[in-house]
Subunit: 573 residues, 2 copies
């Protein structure tokens, strides 16, 4: 392909709205352009790279026995009502009304369409197990689209859905996908780890995220030397006991605590460890008020709270609600002597507090000597947010926390959708049973961006050979020289016969400018064709990733390139 | 691929809502399933065939020098306002409001996004000509989705957009696409003709449709032996003169014509040729009333009317409007003595009428001796709908009319969008000029359906080799026989090494049932593996299209199949 016939509008300057490397480089290397907030156009070079990733995903899905098919992007809302996922207030969900005022959802994921497909088409254990996948556009009305294609309103996604007769079979299907995911990310040269995760709105029994370690990632991951790893939303750690535990339950006292509100203030005021305090928070949980308690040295993990209590919508209550429940302004609420009786949930850390301190439901007052069990009743769960330095529940070592980009997510849905939407099959004994589902997603556009996050230097992108839009760029140093043009054409033809994709930079521009462009767009190997090289019969092949230069004679160019590409491929497969 | 690992749910019965062959066969052969009105799921076999068509389109676009890229499916309404195409009453256009109440259009075509891209990125003649294409989902809120994927709410489309400096260059770009379209349809083995067409809502200077002749087509095509061919919406024919023309203009008379309303009634009542009558119709044209006249033996072509007068929304006026303008009920309106003055447009056929008859704007009365020019003024255009038997304007022979399916449409848009949206480039002299656009669409899903319309028999689909989801099906007659299973695997492997795609029917079902399924899903070649064939070393290869059977020994199977497939491929390329 001639550069002059192609369209790669490289830019010198970083775009103003780009915060992360992949976003900057995708714009600068002419891979994408912004059409609107969270909406990106893929230019030819970007589309070419994207299709490489797509093809790797397709091959690995095919290898794993999943069958490609495709659903409409529009989904009648009736299916969402059926599954119980329809919530008109859920703003991330794009939807429209058609000419007959029917509501159609623009798929963010396709569980409903699949479950409907399964219930219509699958009636016997003989048809199972099955796994179908599709590669297509998905929609999410992001409140704050950012980071380029990393968090956009439209994105290319692979989603797969399996149906199995029982747990054992689901385990096999799930493992096949898990293995396929490792293959995909390895082939994309992405350093990826799988992390136990919360299933969120999709739901189900268990889920794992595939994470690319990156300082710009939006997910927090908890990890231990021993191998324990989990998304912060589900991570657990050892509950540290209070070393100075008391045993005698004392009588409650009310203490005047003017202008003392935060835990730090209280620690200072009472001159006592934060482990003595019971933090009390009022939440609106699916429009019901609840009181949630945790020990003063911990924070509440709202994702755990939601998942453990089966809450869909959770938010902190407003001042008015707090006043209504407590009879006092925010900051002085506590579980004892509430004005209004509401359910109380507490983290395990609260259970063993003896003679604790908590708000007195009265402005500028706290209670001393509050004792769980004696002074209030609560239901106990693990609701703690893990902190860096917390101890691992498996080995006791200190936990580390780092950030990651979620590129894949696999779920054991179990019977969540199949039960809600009435999928039934006959088992071997002719008995009707509810089969189990799994679902498996890869963000293809996000994977592309993550590859760039992991493969770049100050000069631009460094494409792994497996997803490079072209394998080789031939830079003609002097485009006035006919001999060089002919040589470029010959090398291009010879390489293309070997399945190697070539871009010929035939633009009438300064060589330095062309070298810079080649580095920016990140083609793995560059061949420089200059008059000097021709005269000396010594041609430069430059490897992008380390700028190493290999000198070869004209006759050796092809073999050397094939050899270098094979080395890269071997490493990466 | 094993049939038992694949998913091809064939059906014996035609689906109740299917009216045309392709729709029936796509459901019965397990290619598609309906998710909702006008919304179809592609099952694995259908997806595979669709991808074959997609790949042919991609290759031909690449060969023609067009560059693949992709736009978001959502388009901010501002771009549609910019281009002048935004019309909130246009119900076919799907749109939604996002979380911030911004309107987003779901692309039916992408002229706006492209023009915006061009105006942002192209500033010099040096960057031209360019042609970009994408393959993706498009949306249309059909008032009456029908014929399966032929007229659906979502469909896969290839759309390309070119930008050229001048007419001459646009002609070249247009011709390249036209040639590429012929290649695409020839490779798909679709008997296709190109037809001059109206540019409709998309607009521009000239357009051609690619039509597949089919009795179930929704388009009418006018054709002549001499080679003249046009969509009925733009077709022209010779205006037949009235042989008994008068020359003396007589005085107007008002005639009582009770219960005489239609042209047939009038012909009978006045005992005179229909050529004497001036038919008068009131339309609402973009919310303005207009009177349109045509001679009694002709009908008005509303598409011509719209395009010649630049009307966007056209509909017949209601009775109330007619009464308001004419002072009489519908059926008695005429251009002379109207109660209200409205613009009058007439077909050329009206111009030479002498002493014509027309409604008297009074219930049960007509005027005699009405003369254009003397009694009313009108603007004249060709507004006639061509009828079968009309004479060709080129050779005078009688025109034929047949039906067709539109699979492609190419447009010279000229400066319609580039001007409206302010695309400007500098020419060689440094002068700012408005470059010209072309746009080029292929309905990929519709092409697939059209292929089935042209390639089927009573037993099912007959895939052309170029788009067949598999080239060969190996039917194992007795799946209990280990030797046959092994042989199937060997043949499959040997063929796949040659790039031939194989489906092995390993299902434990009656042979007759499996043969029927093979015919229904239309795989071009079937190899029957039976114990008898094994014993006699004489195997049957059945060619789907004519059921011809070729007998070969075990050693000859592969070579014979390769040979038969090559014959099909050669024919089709």
């Amino acid at each position: 392909m001639r550069f002059s016939n192609y369209y790669i509008p490289t830019l010198k300057e970083d775009p103003k709205d780009a915060e992360i490397v992949s976003h900057k480089l995708m714009i600068r290397a002419g891979l994408i352009r912004k059409l609107g907030s969270g909406l990106y156009t893929y230019l030819p070079l970007g589309k070419r790279a994207l299709r490489k990733v797509e093809e790797i995903v397709r091959e690995e899905m095919d290898n794993a026995g999943a069958l490609e098919f495709s659903f409409p992007l529009l989904v009648p809302v009736e299916l969402w009502i059926d599954s119980g996922r329809w919530n008109p207030d859920k703003k991330e969900l794009m939807r429209l009304k058609d000419r007959n005022d029917n509501i159609m959802v623009l798929s963010p994921t396709n569980e409903e369409s699949f479950t409907d497909f399964f219930r219509k088409e699958f009636h016997s254990y003989k048809q199972l197990p099955v796994n179908f996948y599709q590669i297509g556009i998905k929609f999410r009305d992001e409140i704050r689209p950012r980071f380029g294609v990393m968090r956009a309103k439209e994105f290319l996604m692979k989603d797969a859905y399996s149906l199995d007769l029982d747990e054992e079979s689901l385990d096999v299907s799930y493992k096949k996908m898990r293995d396929a995911y490792y293959n995909v990310f390895r082939r994309c040269m992405l350093d990826t780890i799988s992390v136990k995760a919360d299933s969120g709105d999709i739901g189900g029994d268990a889920s794992e995220e595939f994470m690319v370690k990156s300082s710009v990632g939006e997910e927090e991951i908890v990890a231990c030397e021993c191998g324990y790893i989990a998304n912060i939303e589900t991570a657990e750690s050892v509950l540290e006991q209070d070393d100075n535990k008391e045993y005698d339950l004392k009588t409650i006292e009310m203490i005047h605590t003017p202008n003392v509100k935060t835990i730090d203030d209280l620690v200072q005021f009472f001159d006592i460890t934060a482990k003595k305090f019971i933090k009390s928070l009022v939440y609106k949980a699916d429009n019901k008020s609840i009181l949630v308690l945790i020990r003063g040295d911990y924070d509440i993990n709202e994702t755990k709270l939601k998942s453990k209590l089966g809450i869909h919508n959770l938010e902190l209550a407003d001042d008015e609600t707090i006043f209504d429940i407590s009879g006092s302004p925010a900051g002085f609420i506590g579980p004892y002597n509430l004005k209004k009786d509401i359910p109380i949930y507490a983290d395990f850390s609260v259970k063993d507090i003896v003679n604790g301190i908590t708000g007195a439901n009265k402005k500028d007052f706290h209670y001393k000597n509050i004792n769980p069990g004696r002074d209030f009743q609560a239901q106990y769960y693990d609701l703690r947010l893990v902190k860096k330095g917390d101890k691992c529940v498996h080995c006791g070592k200190q936990l580390d926390i780092f950030r990651g980009i979620e590129v894949g997510h696999i779920f054991k849905l179990g019977d969540k959708y199949s039960k809600a939407m009435g999928v039934k099959v006959l088992d071997k004994n002719g008995k009707e049973v509810t089969p189990l589902m799994g679902c498996y997603g890869i963000g293809i556009t996000r994977t592309l961006a993550a590859i760039i996050e992991q493969h770049n230097d100050k000069d631009g992108i460094i494409w792994p050979i497996t997803v490079a839009p072209f394998h080789v760029i031939i830079t003609i140093v002097n485009t006035k020289n006919e001999e060089l043009l002919k040589l470029a054409e010959k090398i291009e033809n010879d390489l293309e016969k070997q399945g190697i994709e070539v871009l010929v930079d035939d633009r009438d521009l300064r060589p330095g400018f062309k070298f810079k462009d080649a580095d920016l767009i990140g083609i793995p190997f560059r061949v420089n064709l200059s008059e000097k090289a021709l005269n000396n019969n010594s041609f430069e092949i430059v490897r992008r990733k380390d700028k190493e230069i290999f000198y070869v004679s004209m006759d050796e160019i092809i073999d050397k390139l094939i050899n270098l590409i094979n080395i890269e491929n071997k490493k990466e497969r």
